[in-house]
């Protein structure tokens, strides 16, 4: 919330509804009444509370959404008993998980075993920082935002490897091994896909990237190379979050539950929650980079059209785009079978990586000559 100034500089239509007024007045009031140190601390507390609230809300909503989407695809009803339309099903599930005993296997490395779910969770939390949820509503608009995201997101593999190793279970170990190979490989394509947008925008800062899409989203402005980047990005992040068809790390029919075979109760719930938070975050990144984040749908110089689009609040744009991408990833999961481990690595190293490298060159040429719209 300390960097709203950067967003203030953007030439946004004054008619657009935003949370900016609330956050900046709160910011000014805190700094006026308290000393700068305490004001910063107070802001930190508010941010922490908001982040935890967001996590809880996301967990509940996304799990329910996944089950409803799955049910719809599988010609069945899905949860429909707890609450209206099964809305409180995830609440009931969470209560069950809280009350379950968290078992630790006898010969497990107890310290690492208990630490692993928290590492995965902390990584997911850290990733929230540079994401712009709405116009002027961003925790930390760091000037290397995209680099920060790529760097932190690769840390989650440590938590998974830790879980797999510490469980003292062969299935867990195999799952962790697969996960390690998979995340490290797909990081490259995801990074290159992100780079193409960085090249076009000329900035690593999230707010700059969003501002660059004021007259149209990159997906529409950047010709076919950006569409290729987008497809590669979606494939790579599906793999990075261990979702089907790339769910080899948990591969139910092969490794029972992969790296979290031995986890139960709340520790399992943390892994489960982190999976959904990670999906949300990668989809939010995708929405920000390719679909303009909270930026409404603007088409070139169509002033009237752009003006109408501005009436829809920016947070709705952001969450709408993100949930659309989440739905896409859920759709993959309930349609495709799983790849084999060598096919998975072949896909990355023989196809996605060379394509994304060539694609990056194309995007660079487009950026240099200014061929994009």
């Amino acid at each position: 919330m300390s960097h709203e100034k950067a967003i203030n500089d953007l030439k946004i239509k004054s008619s657009m509804f935003s949370l900016e007024g609330i956050t900046s007045s709160l910011h000014q009031w805190l700094y006026a009444t308290l000393s700068p140190t305490f004001a910063l601390l107070a802001e930190c507390v508010i941010v922490i509370l908001l982040a935890i609230a967001l996590f809880a809300a996301l967990g509940l909503v996304l799990v329910l959404m996944e089950r409803k989407v799955a049910a719809h695809i599988q010609i069945r009803l899905g949860p429909n008993r707890v609450g209206p339309g099964g809305m409180f099903q995830t609440v009931a599930d969470t209560l069950k998980l809280i009350m379950k005993e968290g078992l630790t296997p006898d010969k497990a490395d107890k310290f690492l075993f208990n630490l692993a779910p928290f590492i995965v969770m902390i990584v997911a939390m850290l990733l929230l920082a540079p994401i712009a949820f709405a116009k002027g509503f961003q925790i930390w608009d760091i000037n290397i935002g995209v680099l920060y995201l790529s760097a932190i997101s690769s840390l989650s593999v440590i938590g998974i490897l830790m879980a797999g190793w510490a469980s003292n279970n062969k299935y867990s170990l195999l799952g962790a091994m697969r996960s390690g190979a998979q995340i490290v490989s797909y990081e490259l394509s995801a990074g290159l896909a992100i780079l193409s947008i960085v090249v076009l925008s000329g900035s690593l800062q999230i707010s700059d990237i969003i501002a660059a899409q004021e007259n149209g989203w990159w997906l529409f402005k950047g010709h076919i190379p950006v569409i290729i980047s987008f497809v590669i990005f979606i494939i790579a992040v599906t793999a990075e979050t261990n979702r089907a068809p790339f769910d080899l790390a948990e591969a139910e029919s092969e490794l029972t539950a992969g790296f979290h075979t031995e986890y139960s109760g709340m520790r399992f719930a943390l892994f489960f929650l982190a999976e959904y938070i990670n999906i949300f975050i990668v989809c939010a990144i995708g929405a920000t980079l390719f679909l303009g984040g909270w930026m409404p749908l603007h088409i070139g110089h169509w002033e009237g059209f752009n003006h109408i689009m501005d009436y829809i609040p920016s947070s709705i744009w952001f969450f709408g785009k993100t949930i659309f991408l989440i739905f896409l990833i859920m759709w993959f999961r309930w349609t495709f079978p799983r790849l084999r481990v060598d096919q998975l690595l072949n896909l990355e190293w023989k196809y996605l990586l060379p394509i994304s490298m060539l694609n990056l060159i194309l995007v660079t040429i487009i950026a240099i000559f200014g061929w994009h719209f």
Binding site: R76, A251, E252
Partner: protein, 378 residues
Amino acid sequence: MYTQTEIIKDTTINGSEGELVINVGPQHPATHGVLHLVITLNGETIKKIEPHLGYIHRSIEKMCESLTYRQFIYVTSRMDYLSSHINNEACALCVEKGLQIEVPARAKVIRVLMGELTRIASHELWLGAMAMDLGAFTPFFYTFREREMINEIMEDTCGARLTMNYMVAGGVAMDLHPDFQRKVKLFVTQFKKRVPEFDDLITNNIIFQNRMKGVGVLSGEDAISYGCTGPVARGSGVSSDIRKLYPYDGYDAVAFDEVLETAGDSYARYLVRLREMHQSIRIIEQLIDAIPEGDFQAKTKAVLKLPKGEFYTRVETARGELGVYIVSEGGTTPYRIKFRSPGFSNLSALHHMAKGSKIGDLMATMGTLDLVIPDIDR
């Protein structure tokens, strides 16, 4: 619990360094029951597969020795529970062969119709379960939608959905439900309409094809040597359909094709089963309007006594050749009975098919072998 010993002396396996031994089962999502495989791995590559059976062994052969010829038929429903009807048919045929009972024409047609419906239901379940082994959950629900209709047809006539116990020596236990023909016709039209969905969802999916083509290859010669039957053998190009080779219950009177594929891989086995469903539909369509009137059961004595001697019948279940071998001493109970189950022989080829491949391939291979564990253990 188990010590590692060499199952097959294999010179291609060298050294024990870097080996990882994992137990797949008896509780594992991909074994669909209580099969226990001890797998030796090198990384992700399978070096050795050693099945440990018996978790659901009930010694049905011993049980049958103390049951009469009327009773023992129904125990076999619990062997291969997915084609229980065809198991019962095999036993009834064997008793009929011993007593030289002529089965009425109506009973024969009913048997064939029920047998083909059972085969479709079994293949539907296999299709869903195999897709699940490959990590796709959705096809399961689509296949169960069709299977449910068959189960309801069975329930109407036989009073049960899975273990029908509809056979008696000399015919079938009771006449068809009045609704039978209408429901079967409805099922046939629905099935034909919905099968293209499977092709869209599974057959033409590039990931599915990549997971199955060239995986778990079994040559025709090996298939014969390992005693593989049913779709496993036919996927390797071995003609083994008992309905064609040794027709029983009037299968020689209906027109259908034996489905053969020559590749011998998982995809070939998959295609064979998919096309077999169409052939079963073809048989049903020919017979559903041509059910002859008359008795559904031949007149038999209250107590059946097989003459002294040996009787062997074989039928084509959904999984392959089921043989029933009865040794009679002339009493009311069999002296010795042997069930040659298709799953047992098919399982013995698993090590040969899956060694050297990845864990994911093992699941694809096991999925297309269509193992039903009680059929293996008996």
